[in-house]
Symmetry: C2
Subunit: 115 residues, 2 copies
DNA sequence: TTGATATATTCCTATATAGGAATATACTTA
DNA sequence: TAAGTATATTCCTATATAGGAATATATCAA
């Protein structure tokens, strides 16, 4: 069996690093495909293909303006990602715990160096 | 070129729905592989394999206890996911905007039905 | 030591990309 | 209508899984 399809859900769509960059670049703007091409310096078909995946899961939507296609991010669709991560927030370390972890790590490293 | 490796980063590791379930199941606990097998009803090799991916990106860590391997979630590693999503929070619709979107959607649907 | 238990790994296969190149499609303007 | 611009799609290939089955490895217990 292959991996879950990139168009299966938001999590799979944003797994691709380039698509995250695309989203970061587009957020809050309305951009034409070629504007994105210029901003990112990617090949036009590559931009169109990644936009297509993002569109299929609803992360971006598109509007026709003459021969241009204007794309924008539907930020709402990223909410589930934040919400999914939120449920683990209570288990995150605070900065002091971080320090503690860091010290433990150093000790562990010293110990393994001794051997 | 194939897709980004599942072990490339946290985003790719959690793209697989089963691995998200695994994380949700394990959060806040220390669980043995077979305990997870029982909780989820998956095959043991499947659990071990998914744990292996999560371990490689640091989302879980493992401790040996006799012939058992005790796994736990490193919740810290899910922080980047929340943080990534956070940067788009200001662009999320509030409930009124949602209503607006909803009404627009209904109108659009009526229009396409007419044709 | 031997059998049993716990977990990891290997082998196999179907499948889904991502990127590159080429090309098709759509719209505009002279 | 023809040329030009903007964007999407198709074809190709290398690659990386996910799951199933079988098996290897590690540890415990009698």
């Amino acid at each position: 069996m292959a991996r879950t399809s990139t168009t299966f859900d938001t999590f799979n769509a944003i797994a691709e690093p380039k698509r995250r960059v695309l989203i970061e670049t587009m957020i809050g703007k309305e951009l034409t495909v070629n504007q994105i091409v210029e901003l990112l310096g990617w090949k036009q078909p590559m931009v169109s293909k990644h936009l297509s995946v993002l569109k299929q899961v609803g992360i971006v939507s598109q509007r026709k303006v003459g021969r241009y296609r204007v794309y924008r991010v539907n930020a709402n669709h990223l909410k589930p990602v934040q919400e999914w991560a939120n449920q683990f927030e209570q288990y995150w370390s605070n900065s002091l715990d971080y320090l503690d972890d860091y010290l433990k790590e150093i000790k562990a490293r010293e110990k393994s160096d001794e051997q």
